[in-house]
Amino acid sequence: MWPEYTEQSDNFGGKNKMIRVTDDVIIKTIARVLTPFIQVYALYVIMHGHHSPGGGFQGGVILAASLILLLITHGWAETKKKFSETKTAVFCAVGVLIYTGIGVLCIFMGGNFLDYGKLGGLLMVIPPEARSLGILGVEIGVGITVMAVMFSIFFDTSTGGNSPEDETTSSLR
C-alpha cells in the first residue's frame, strides 16, 4: 500500500503535488463555500471555550483545518495571498506572546502567573469578570499559535521542506 521510498517520491517529483490546485470544479466550489463557515465556527469554539466543549486548542485546529482545505484544493499560489509563510512565523510567535504576556501582566499586578483575578484593577471590572476575560485572552493566544503551527506542519510535510515555486498551472499531474 505504501509507495517505495525513492528520491522522487520524497518531494513528490519536485512538483509538490499535494498542494497543487485540483481540476475538480465540485471540490473547488465546496471548499470555497465551506471555508468561511468553518472559520466562523472555529471562532465560536474559541469564544465559548469556558462554558462548552472546546477552547483555544480545538478552535485553532479547526481554523488550521479550514486553511489546509484551502491549500489542498486551491493550491499554494491562492493560499499564499491569505496566509503566507511570513504570516505563519509571525502568528506562531504572537500567540505565545499573548499567552505569556497576560501571565506576566498578572505577576506585575501582584498575583501569581496567570492569576487573572488581579487583572480586575486594570480592566476596571470585578475579579470574577476579570477571570473570564483573562481566560478568553489566553485562549485567543493559544488558538492563534495552534492554527499557525498546524498549518506549518502540514505545509512542511507536504512540500518536503522545499519552498514551492508558484503553481500557475491548473493540471494535477
Partner: protein
Amino acid sequence: MHEFFLSTSILLCFLVLLCLYRGTVGPGVLNRIAGISAIGTKTLVILLLMGFIYDRVEMFVDISMVYALLNFIGTLAVAKYLEIEGEV
C-alpha cells in the same frame, strides 16, 4: 424516550462494526475510504443520541459538528493523496 435513543445507538454500533469489516478487509482502497467515511457519519449520529440521553445535547452538537468537518477534510486529503500516488 431514553430506551428508543439507547436502542437506536446500539443498532448504529452494530452497523459501525459492519463498516469496520469493510474498512479493514475490503478489497481495494476505495472500499476502505467509503467504509471509514460511513463510520464517521455514524459516530456523529451516535454522539447526538448520547447527548439526548444525557440531556446535554447543546454540548454534543458542538463535538459532532467538529467531527463532521474534520471527517470531510480528512477524506478529501486521503483521496487527493491516492490520486497523486496513482493507487486508484
